[in-house]
């Protein structure tokens, strides 16, 4: 047993180093001057500089990218969770006509390639006048986030015994009051996990976000492509922008760290 746990530690350490190495390199690059980057590989910055970060925080065309991205991510998370809550309750508690087919159809939309939807979404949101607003991206991301939220929440809700619903009904709770006052606190961790996943998949997506925005609602991911200029790549600035996109994710992970394992099994373990 002792020997196997030692191999376990070794595997873990090697794996974690493998995960951290590219991130270390990105941070390293973001603190170097472009002159140092281009003049050879150095394992740590000889001359630490924060010029790239200062540029991002003082240039509105840079930091507005972060604000735009966070706006549509938060909008999408709120829309997805509030729509998915009643639907997940219906799937976990009742059987109804077309239930199985509907569930499969929802699931299949989570799996549909965004590339298929890029062009029609562009037409659709241009036609209804939402093109280049955070709402377009938030609604477009509902395509995969709403089914995912339903799927996760249904798993958590099925773990709550049905007797609770019945007892509340006998005690005279109306359905909306029961749902908000009693049921939602019971699955609070499930809601947290579902929100985490909606945040994650909306935050990391680029193709639809890029297709549906032009200038006003441009996400940070698109702003980052600007670092290519006539003078060559601005690697330091690119790396600094990359480091800053990792931070919101890291903060969110820190908050849900105790639920991560269960959440990744979508509430079904």
């Amino acid at each position: 047993m002792n020997q196997s746990s030692r191999t376990g530690t070794l595997v873990m350490v090697v794996y974690l180093i493998f995960l951290m190495l590219p991130i270390y390199w990105l941070v390293n690059m973001s603190l170097k001057t472009n002159f140092e980057i281009n003049s050879g590989v150095t394992l740590w910055p000889n001359d630490i500089t924060f010029e790239h970060y200062i540029k991002i925080f003082t240039d509105s065309s840079w930091y507005s990218g972060y604000i735009n991205s966070l706006t549509y991510v938060v909008l999408n998370t709120i829309i997805s969770i509030s729509l998915a809550l009643p639907a997940a309750y219906a799937f976990s508690r009742y059987s109804f006509i077309g239930e199985k087919h509907l569930f499969f159809w929802l699931l299949s939309n989570r799996m549909a390639p965004p590339a298929v939807f890029a062009l029609p979404f562009f037409n659709l949101y241009s036609a209804i006048g939402l093109f280049d607003t955070p709402w377009a991206v938030a609604l477009a991301h509902c395509l995969f986030n709403v089914p995912l939220a339903v799927w996760i929440l249904e798993g958590f809700m099925s773990g709550v015994p049905r007797e609770i619903d019945e007892t509340a009904a006998i005690d005279g709770y109306s359905f909306p009051r029961f749902f908000v006052k009693i049921f939602m606190p019971l699955i609070a961790s499930g809601i947290g996990v579902a929100a985490f996943f909606c945040f994650m998949f909306s935050w990391v997506e680029l193709l639809l976000a890029r297709t549906l925005t032009a200038t006003n609602a441009k996400p940070i991911a698109v702003t980052m492509t600007r670092t290519v200029s006539a003078a060559g790549m601005d690697w330091g600035l690119l790396a600094a922008a990359g480091v800053l996109t990792i931070i919101p994710g890291a903060l969110v992970i820190w908050f849900v760290r105790n639920y991560i394992a269960k959440g990744f099994a979508l509430g079904r373990v």
Binding site: M111, P114, P120, L206, A265
Partner: protein, 300 residues
């Protein structure tokens, strides 16, 4: 598990149904519309019937050739990353620390790559693997191994596969870890009394308990690798040549690059049908596995 039949439950599902229908059915109808027409520009369209589909599914034409090449490349890629990520994920899950602050720290580090925007994942690996400024590229060349992912197709493939392993193995590992945590200690004690070997514990206790989450892991990984776009687009742009042009990259080139609406629409539909078919197979297997053990149902 029998649930009461109640068709009024549709009212609870209706908002989700409407928004997903708005996001899925309207665009798909647009695609169907384009797929049977041809255009000479100026918004003048004329009926082309099944012409695009015939061209697409015939490998001897230019369109069909590039479609089947991209499809083949994409299937290869999915197979390779599944063959690496699933065993590696299981191994990592088995090696997770048991308790204490190490668990939280490990979980946070493991989840980190999952929350990095996909274009930044591409950027990270570009910066990491370039031969002139990247640690990996520079290191390999310094060790005497010629490596240049922008010029050599094999190096490009290896870089993309390693990038995907870096990006997504944690998902498989976290899923398996969740499965492992649900095994009661009594099972292990019983195995110890029986004198079971490490391998026997793995095959008879741990693997059966993990098969549900492994199914989810394989489904998610297959689907996401089958629609991979952003990371290889940023890293290699589909090159060198067409060596890493996967289905989504090819489709976006066709639709938004060349604006070949009819061809792109036909390709979208066939692409989507393949996804739907695979998804249906997994769903059936999952529902079936769920009905065998009714106390842990999977599909409502």
């Amino acid at each position: 598990m029998d649930k009461p039949l109640n068709n009024r439950a549709w009212w609870l599902v209706a908002p989700v149904f409407l928004i997903v229908a708005f996001s899925a059915i309207v665009p798909i109808m647009t695609v169907v519309n384009y797929s049977v027409q041809d255009t000479f520009g100026n918004n003048q369209f004329f009926w082309n019937g099944l012409g695009w589909f015939q061209e697409l599914l015939d490998p001897s034409t230019e369109l069909g050739g590039r479609f089947f090449d991209a499809l083949w490349r994409n299937l290869m890629f999915s197979a390779i990353i599944l063959a690496i990520e699933v065993p590696l994920g299981i191994l990592v899950a088995l090696s997770m620390p048991r308790e204490g602050w190490k668990v939280a720290a490990t979980l946070v580090v493991m989840a980190l790559p999952l929350l990095i925007p996909w274009n930044v994942v591409g950027t990270i690996w570009q910066v990491f693997a370039r031969a002139d400024i990247g640690l990996a590229g520079w290191g390999l060349n310094a060790l005497g191994i010629p490596y240049n992912f922008t010029g050599d197709p094999l190096a490009a493939w290896i870089t993309i596969v390693v990038m995907d392993v870096w990006h997504w193995t944690s998902l498989v590992a976290l899923l398996c870890y969740a499965g492992l945590k649900s095994i009661p200690d009594a099972y292990y004690q019983a195995a110890r009394i029986d004198g079971a070997s490490r391998w026997a514990i793995f095959t008879t206790i741990q693997l059966p308990k993990m098969n549900r989450v492994l199914l989810i892991a394989v489904l998610l990984r297959f689907m996401d690798s089958f629609m991979i776009y952003t990371e290889p687009f940023v890293l290699t742009g589909g090159g060198p040549g067409n060596a890493t042009t996967f289905l989504s990259i090819d489709l976006v080139k066709l639709a938004l690059g060349q604006f070949d609406l009819g061809k792109a629409a036909a390709m979208s539909l066939v692409y989507n049908l393949i996804v739907l078919a695979v998804c249906w197979v997994f769903y059936t297997v999952m529902t079936h596995a769920g009905s065998e053990r009714p106390q842990r149902e999977i599909a409502g």
